[in-house]
Each structure stands twice: as structure tokens, then as C-alpha cells.
Amino acid sequence: MMRRARQLWVIVFFIPLAFLGLFYAYPLLSIFDVSLRPAGILDLSAFVRLLSSDYYIGTLLFTVYQAALSTVVTLVLATPCAFVFARYQFRGKTLLLSLATLPFVLPTVVVALAFATLLGKDGTLNDLLMAFFTLESTPIQLERSLAMIIIAHVFYNFAVALRIMTSYWSSLGFRVEEAARCLGADELALWRDIRLPLIRPAMLSAGVLVFIFSFTSFGVILILGGIRFATLEVQIYYQAVNMFNLPLAAALSLVQILSMLFMMMIYTSTQKRLQLTLASSAAVAKRPRTLLERLCVSLCVALIAVLLFAPLLALVVRSVLVAGQLDLANFASLVEKSRGSLLFIAPIESVFNSLRFALIAMCAALSLGLIASYMIERRGRWSRLLDPLFMLPLATSAVTLGFGFIIALDEPPLNLRASWLIIPISHTLVALPFVIRSVLPSLRAIPASLREAARTLGAKPVDALLTIDLPLLGRGIAVGATFAFTVSMGEFGASLFVAQRESVTIPVVIYRLLGDPGFASYRQSLAMSVLLMLVCASGFVIIERLRIAGVGEF
């Protein structure tokens, strides 16, 4: 009986690895094989070209530099906010946390338009500043600059850092801090000696995600950075698609993956030293009482409003205003099929397609991600390698992997090339790291003694899992679910590969509309983006409700 249960566990543990092997490693190795061994002989000349070229070295350095900068700025802004969100209870907090995730879902083209409205030459901010200070020229000139890239990366990633850290902090509680305060520690000492060391595991966990996300940035670099900036990802796309130089693209992809692995190694070794196991306590968020506390809360809310909501609002305003007049015609037109054309569906239908894929991807990513987190947490000799392994899909160029799918998964029983399944599968691959990063810090913080106590009292492993782990992981799971849902709702690369009606998702519709000349289709695409935000926001609220209903506050 025990033996069979053990075997079952082993099988279960291998499911995420099998998934990764089949849908990630196999296609990737196939395309590398075709690219680097074109005539059956290993040809590494592309690497020589890469390493001997100042241009590509420069690209690599710039990629690392902008990613590091984006990560630092994001963490510096998000850490105090995470503290405030975990520490204090105020009205609308949960909703605010959920909505902060919205930027994540928006396509870069749409975000670029929103940014232009706000920060552009004729943007709102410049108009305000010029009117206020009676200036002659525009004070803010961020268009196509490194600063714009960083701002956009912070805009996209702020919620990743905020939510992962807030959920971790909430599950830790504030006992140590209060003890230190009783012993006379001042604010500075509290931050230096208590808060930062305590939050570091979650900070690093989130930082890794933000870094990888900025490291592989594509759309932001192209559209907001302009033609002067290129990351490895941009180069890979250019070489693979426009030049069809597969060896060079493969070499660049490998460099990208290896740099990421290197990063992850540093992370894994530091986080091992830093991990503190604390008896988790109920997160007693208190109401802000003193003036200072209220000020802190207001500042955080203001920061989120300016950083995240102002661009979103600009987008909403743009979608409903025509020449200063309120006009909702383009929203009304979303329910009709605009053309009698094949593959064109009523935009509203794409909402159901998107939701279906997002639900499948979310369930798959949650199941696989939880199993994977337990595998990683076991801390065996192999488990340390597992963490970087599951992060790999995030660091892999979509084009490279897409080509890999084409050549690898082309035979029955796994002929996925024309199947809609490729969409939820690729979404799951990308969502998996988010679930793991959200769950892992809290999972590691559960002291073994808690489970042992439960076992001593006669609880079966499954019972211990349900009564100890699950409630403690509730927040992390909800955050992971939110990101998995969002990743799937916003992703469009994979959906473009498959043609059937059921594969036309919201982002696909947005891109199509933006590809047509004509103001009506442009305005429809804005309306569609607003709809995408609304659908996601509703999704967030439901996920949050489910968490409270299913797991309960501990």
C-alpha cells in the first residue's frame, strides 16, 4: 500500500517534467539541431561570428544593462508599496492589488499609444507642465529613449513584484517587527535589520521574473525604444525571420538561455542562504492610524495611480472620445461581425475564445506549477537544478520555439502544428514560471515542524497537505492564478499560428484591426483593448473571491 502510494507520487512528480520535456525541450533541441548541424556536422561558425563581433557583444551588454536597470527600479518602487499593502488595511485594497495586474495583459502597441498620449510631445503631461510653468518648449522628451523603455518595463512588471512580495509578507506576519519595535528599534533599523532581510526571498523571486521579462523584451524595445535599441530577442527575430540565418539565430538564442541560466544559478545559491523559516502567522493588517501611516498609504496609492492607472485611463479616454465628444459607436460595433470575411468573427466572440484558453492554461499551469514547486522545495540534489529549468521557457525566444514546434511536433500522435492545443500549451509554458515564483516563497516558509506536528497527531500526508499547506499557500496560489490567467489573456504569438475560428483571441483581433488603415478600425482596436481590460479585471475579482471562499483567511 505504502509502496504504491510512493510510486504514484513519483509519477505525479514527473508530470511537469514530462510536459516541459515534450513541449519545450524536444522542439527547442530539434530546431537547434537543424540550425547548428545543417549537414549533419556541427557548425559553430555562428558562435565565432557572434563572439568576435562588437555589435553582438554590445547587444548582449545592453540587454543585460536595461534588464538590470528595469529590475532595480521596479523593486525599489514596489518594495515599500508591498510593505504598506501587507501591513495596512484600507478600503479598496484587494481591488487595487488586482487591478494593478492589468498592464500585464495589454499588447505593446496599445501601451505605446497610451504612453504617447500621456508622455509624448503633445501629450497630457507636457501640456500640463507647459501651461503651469508657462514654458515655450516641451519639458519632457522621452520619446524613443532608454528612459521610456525603463518606464514601460516598470509599468508592465510593477504588479509582478508588488503582488509576489505582498502575498509573501502577508503570510509572514509582523511579529518579529513588533518585537523589535518593543525593543526600541527605529524605522531605519527596522527596514535594515528586519523588513528587508525578511522580504528578501520574495524580492529575489520577483526580481528574477522581472529581470527575465525585461531581458527578453521585444515589443517595448521596438516600439517605445525605437530603432536605436536592440535586445538579443530583437536580434533573434531579425535573424530568424527576416534573414533566415538560423545558425546565428540559434547561437543568439543559446546565449540568451545561458545568460538566463547563469542569472538563475546566482539567484538559487543566494536565496538558499537567505531563506528564513518563520512560523507563519495570521497577517494582521491594521488600519493606518497615525498621520505618517496614512501618508504612506496615500503615497502608495498615488504611485500606483500615476504609474499604472494613468496610462490605462488615457487609453479608455482615447477609446470613447472623438474630437472631444463622447462616442460609444465603436463599442457598439464590437458585437457585429464587421465583414463577411472568413476568419473574421464578431469581436465579442473572441472574448469567449480568450476566456476558454485562459481557463485551460490557468488550470494546467496551477496544477503543474504546484507539483513543480513541491519538487523544487524538496531540496534534493536535483531539485536545485529544477528551479532554473522551469524558468527556461520565459527566457526562450518565441520565434525559435515556434520554429521548433513546426519541425518537432509534426508526426502523429503529436501532430500539433495545426491544432488549437498549441495555444493553451504555449500559454501554460509561459504561465508556469509565474505560478512557481508566486507559490515557492510561501511554500519554503512553511516550517517542517508544522507538518510533523500534524503527522504526529495522526494526519495522513494528504490531510496535512489540505489543512496546513493549502491555507498557507492560498495567497500565493491566487497570485499565481491571476498571472497565469493574465499571461494567457494577453499573449498572441501562439494564437497567430493557428487559423480556426476558435483560435481568434482578443489580442489577435486588436492586432488585426491595428494592421488596417482607417480610423474606424483604429478606434475599434482601442475599444477592444478596453474590453480586454474589463474582462481581465472581472477575472481578477472572481479569482480573488474563489480564494477567500475556498481557502479562507488563515
Binding site: 508530470i15 525605437g226 474630437a323 470575411s341 502523429p412
Partner: protein, 350 residues
């Protein structure tokens, strides 16, 4: 949690297996993501031929061609539609097509067949041209540029936005137009011209959407600041077609002077090793039939390759077709693309 994971995986495998069961009379058309056609027209073809057609979009034109080449030994489909003259040589060199001489070819405009091997059949074309904001040029009493050289003149300073040829298809087309006009070598070659454009405050952005909706100025709407943009000759009629008041007339125009535009011709080819070659041939003929050709303009904003096709009213009224577009041999494009673009980057990004 765990049984759910297993059941999901099981579901995946159950759902995957039937995909492999292929019926005989199914035709798979590989195409790019801007493909569009009317459902009824396709249904009519299916009813007449008894073939059921599946459209498989595969990213942009470059991605599509590369995928077709990568899957050469086990083709993704029976036909590939949408390879244009900038990617044609790559596809031909990889020998992915089986020749077919359609009996309908006699109606095709002269000079549109790339060679006499019949490996691909031209279907439609579109010209990459400058578009301008009519109101701006009228209110400033500015003449339209009559040649590419004119764009370096002081009166057009800071007016033009173009796309990066490394990342954008119209961007590459416009670069090719300048290469056709000024040459790749010589005393004053395309690079010198682009430097002069840059000195005249040219703005280059990465993609068409950003250029057209972000930077191009159209008087009377929230838009960018530059009244000249690299776009398509079909953009002005499309603007009218999609405007809220189509009777109000055109607000933008295309400049189609000699050697100022670059023509992109789109071809269809039967993929070598296609499982359903007979049906594929029928489909090629169908793409050249009036039913398909007539609806090209309003579905994809391109022009039919057949000369005897009536254009829809909005195109007949507002579309200009350049008489002498710039021309570069497809083989030259494929052979030199990387060098040309690289040299351009070095000059423009310095």
C-alpha cells in the same frame, strides 16, 4: 489537485490523437496573418469542387516562408499563398514548390510572372508609396514631392516618417525603392540619400502601425505630427472605406510618381509533396477567377493581378496605381538584403 493534472494531460492526449486522422479531400492553404476572404466565395468553391479548404495562418510573410522551408519534408499544407517578391527567391531557392501552369494565366497583367518556370503564380499586388495629409499640404500651399530626391529639400523638413527596413515590410520596400533610384554603389548611392533624409529631420520608427497611427498626421483627428508617411497606395481608399462618413471624400492621398513606389507582388505556389495536388491546382485557378480577384481590394487592400477585373467603387474613385514603380530583381533582394539593411543600420543609427 493531482487527479486534475492527470486528467488534463489525458485530455490533451485524447484530444490530440484524432488530429492525425486526415481525410483525403481536404486542402490546407498556408498563408500569412493578414489573409482575408469572404466566406461565401470560399463556400462556393468548396461546393463546386467538393474539396474542403482549411486556411492555416502562419505569422507574417517571412515567418510563413521560413516555416514552409523548415517543414519541406513534411509540408504543413498543400498550397502557400502570400509569398511576395522580397521573399520569393528564398522560397524558390529552397525548392519548396511544384510547378503548375494555370490555364487562367492569360488574363494576368504582363510582366508579373517572375520567370518561365511556373513554380509560383501571381495573384495580387500592392505598392508601397508615400501617403500625405491632404489638408496639411493645402493649407500650407505646399507642392507634393515629385521624386524621392525632392524629400531632401528644405520645404519637406521634418515632415516624413518611415519604417525600419530591418523590422517592417513596407520599410524594406521603401528602402528597395531608394536602392532602385540611387543604386547600391556609386558616388551618390542610397546610403548618401538616406543620410540626406536624416539631415532633413526624417523620423524612422519600427513598424507600420506605429508610423501610421502614432506619427502620421491626419488633420481633424487625434494623430501624430508628420504629414508624410511611408504606407501603401491602397491606404487612402481604405481610409475612405473605413471612415464614418465615406461620402466626405478622401483625407489622405498617395504619391505615385515614377520610381517613388515599390511594388510588392504576392504569389501562390503548390507545395512540393502536397497530399492533394489536384485540388491544389483547382484552388490556384480559383484564386485567379473573377470571384476571388474581385474581392481582393476590400478584403486585403491589394490590387487584382488580372487586368479585366472591375475595382470596387471606393478603389476606382480613390486609388492610384503607379505606372512606373521602382524595380529590384528578387534574386538581388535575397542576395543583398542583409548587407543593404546592415549598411543602412550603420548609417542611420550612428
Amino acid at each position: 489537485m493531482i487527479p486534475r493534472a492527470i486528467s488534463i494531460l489525458l485530455l490533451v492526449f485524447i484530444a490530440v490523437c484524432p488530429v492525425s486522422a486526415q481525410e483525403a479531400e481536404r486542402l490546407v492553404v498556408l498563408t500569412h496573418d493578414s489573409f482575408a476572404m469572404t466566406e461565401e466565395v470560399l463556400a462556393a468553391f468548396e461546393a463546386e469542387s467538393g474539396v474542403s479548404v482549411e486556411i492555416l495562418r502562419s505569422g507574417d510573410a517571412g515567418q510563413m516562408v521560413n516555416q514552409a522551408i523548415l517543414s519541406k519534408n513534411n509540408p504543413l499544407g498543400d498550397l502557400l499563398y502570400g509569398v511576395d517578391n522580397t521573399f520569393l527567391s528564398r522560397a524558390l531557392a529552397a525548392e519548396i514548390f511544384a510547378p503548375y501552369e494555370s490555364p487562367v494565366l492569360e488574363f494576368v497583367r504582363e510582366g508579373f510572372l517572375p520567370d518561365d518556370s511556373f513554380r509560383v503564380t501571381p495573384i495580387d499586388f500592392g505598392d508601397v508609396c508615400l501617403n500625405y495629409d491632404i489638408a496639411y499640404f493645402e493649407s500650407n500651399e505646399l507642392e507634393l514631392p515629385e521624386s524621392l530626391s525632392d524629400l531632401t529639400k528644405a520645404e519637406y523638413r521634418g515632415l516624413l516618417v518611415a519604417e525600419n527596413p530591418a523590422t517592417s515590410s513596407p520599410g524594406l520596400a521603401f528602402l528597395l525603392a531608394t536602392i532602385a533610384e540611387f543604386g547600391a554603389e556609386g558616388d551618390y548611392n542610397y546610403l548618401d540619400y538616406w543620410q540626406d533624409l536624416a539631415a532633413n529631420d526624417l523620423l524612422v520608427v519600427d513598424g507600420w502601425t506605429d508610423a501610421y497611427y502614432g506619427e502620421f498626421m491626419v488633420t481633424g483627428r487625434e494623430s501624430g505630427t508628420r504629414p508624410l508617411v511611408v504606407s501603401y497606395a491602397s491606404s487612402p481608399p481604405a481610409e475612405v472605406y473605413y471612415s464614418e462618413d465615406p461620402d466626405a471624400g478622401a483625407i489622405t492621398g498617395a504619391i505615385v510618381g515614377d520610381n517613388m513606389c515599390f511594388r510588392q507582388v504576392e504569389y501562390v505556389g503548390i507545395l512540393a509533396g502536397a497530399t492533394n495536388e489536384a485540388a491544389a491546382r483547382l484552388f490556384v485557378d480559383f484564386m485567379l477567377s473573377p470571384a476571388f480577384q474581385e474581392e481582393l481590394p476590400l478584403n486585403m487592400f491589394v490590387f487584382p493581378v488580372r487586368e479585366d477585373i472591375m475595382l470596387p467603387a471606393v478603389f476606382a474613385e480613390h486609388a492610384l496605381i503607379p505606372e512606373n514603380p521602382a524595380f529590384v530583381e528578387p534574386a538581388d533582394i535575397e542576395a543583398n538584403r542583409e548587407d543593404w539593411v546592415q549598411a543602412w543600420m550603420e548609417v542611420m543609427l550612428r
